[in-house]
């Protein structure tokens, strides 16, 4: 059932996920359902474990290097976890097809927005938000590629919190990893350096996934035989990705993010229009 090629694909999922702050579900779910022929519910269970594997393996490096902002993650996790809870409770009352179309349009707009800023290495002229100052969220990290310490301010505290709430709700409603929206929220509304956005998203996605993961495990929706090789592949890929992150320009991450946004937008449009 499991071939070397699919294992390599799981490594790729961990690699891409760790660099872009995503859970890798966009790679894991199609492989598990289309290539391995597994039922979608078991595939979602496997994907949730994949998210936590990506998060834990890469965040250990990102937190140590100070690229992931632990304090900011804590503040925003309040929004993503409550959002996911609200989303899960609303799931049976909201038509998910219409929502998928709305989400697709949001992603298309974000792709356009990010494409316009594709060459921006670091944000400039960011005014510190008073609440961020109070919670001491402004921080700095050492950028290996630039060979210098990058000081950054945090702004858009309420807009960022709102987007994280939305990210949580959508992940609860649509069952997709909300890493993408987390990165977009931090990049667009809070104007953080791209590496801080993807690394902090990596730290946060594990928490949002963990709450539902325990439920999935308790109800036999996580198959250890299926999930074990996925987790192992993800561990390897995420460790490689987090080692590579320091050596590549932020602008590359931004450019890599745009086609991923477009891909998910098209997938969501398809799901919304064809069920």
């Amino acid at each position: 059932m499991l071939t070397l090629l699919t294992f390599l694909a799981f490594i790729l999922a961990g690699f891409v996920g760790s660099l872009l702050g995503l859970g890798g579900g966009i790679i894991v779910i199609p492989i598990v359902t289309l290539v391995l022929g597994v039922d979608i519910h078991m595939a979602i269970g496997a994907s949730i474990v994949a998210v936590i594997a990506t998060s834990s393996a890469s965040a250990s490096s990102y937190v140590r290097e100070g690229v992931a902002n632990l304090r900011l993650a804590t503040y925003l996790e309040l929004a993503t976890t409550t959002g996911a809870l609200v989303g899960a409770l609303m799931a049976s009352h909201i038509p998910s097809r219409g929502l998928a179309v709305l989400f697709a349009l949001l992603l298309l707009y974000s792709a356009y927005n990010m494409f316009q800023r594709r060459n921006m290495e670091l944000p400039e002229g960011v005014l510190p938000h008073p609440l961020a100052t109070k919670l001491k969220l402004h921080n700095r990290y050492y950028d290996r590629l630039l060979s210098k310490a990058v000081d950054y301010n945090v702004t858009g505290m309420y807009a960022g919190f709102g987007i994280m709430e939305l990210a949580g709700i959508l992940s609860g409603l649509l069952g997709i990893g909300s890493g993408m929206l987390k990165v977009l929220g931090m990049d667009t509304a809070m104007r953080l350096p791209m590496k801080v956005s993807t690394a902090t998203s990596n730290l946060m996605i594990g928490v949002t996934a963990a709450a539902s993961a325990w439920y999935y495990l308790a109800h036999g929706m996580i198959d250890p035989r299926l999930t074990a090789p996925i987790a192992l592949g993800i561990f390897i890929g995420a460790k490689i990705g987090s080692a590579v992150m320091g050596h590549i320009p932020s602008a590359w991450l931004r450019k890599a993010f745009v086609p991923v946004l477009l891909y998910v937008a098209v997938t969501m449009l398809w799901r919304g229009l064809h069920g």
């Binding site: 834990s56 632990l70 309040l78 809870l85 899960a88 109070k134 990290y141 999930t227 074990a228 987790a231």
Partner: protein, 126 residues
């Protein structure tokens, strides 16, 4: 590479980051070793054992003693799922110890929401 702290507060915070990073690193290794061990054992197992799927602590314990691959894989996955929860708890304790009540309380609230999510999920579908 991380930066030299500029004041005692930043030094404390860097230590907290190091604690969180070490915890995630060790946890990931433990999980990976258990999962890899399970996968390695599965090459030697007989066909009769394929569908055994332990979820209770009792089954996992006996599975581990019997060198059953699924027990090792399941334990590896359980360790993995516990990592984000414990990480938030470590953060909360770290913030409270520095008398950063707001962030400590936020982290505690996040833990609470995770517990409620699990409980409600169980109530809804259980």
């Amino acid at each position: 590479m991380s930066l030299e702290p500029q004041n005692p507060e930043e030094a404390y915070y860097r230590k907290l980051e190091a604690r969180v990073a070490n915890f995630l690193w060790v946890g990931t290794i433990v999980s990976a070793v258990l999962i890899a061990g399970g996968l390695a054992l599965s090459f030697f197992e007989g066909p009769h054992a394929k569908n055994l799927s332990p979820v209770s602590p009792h089954d996992i314990w006996f599975g581990l003693r019997a060198m059953h691959p699924v027990a090792y894989e399941t334990l590896g996955i359980i360790v993995l799922l516990a990592l984000p929860v414990v990480r938030v708890a470590i953060g909360s304790v770290g913030f409270f110890r520095r008398r950063e009540v707001q962030l400590g309380a936020i982290a505690l609230a996040v833990l609470g929401v995770m517990v409620v999510s699990f409980a409600l999920g169980a109530a809804h579908h259980g």
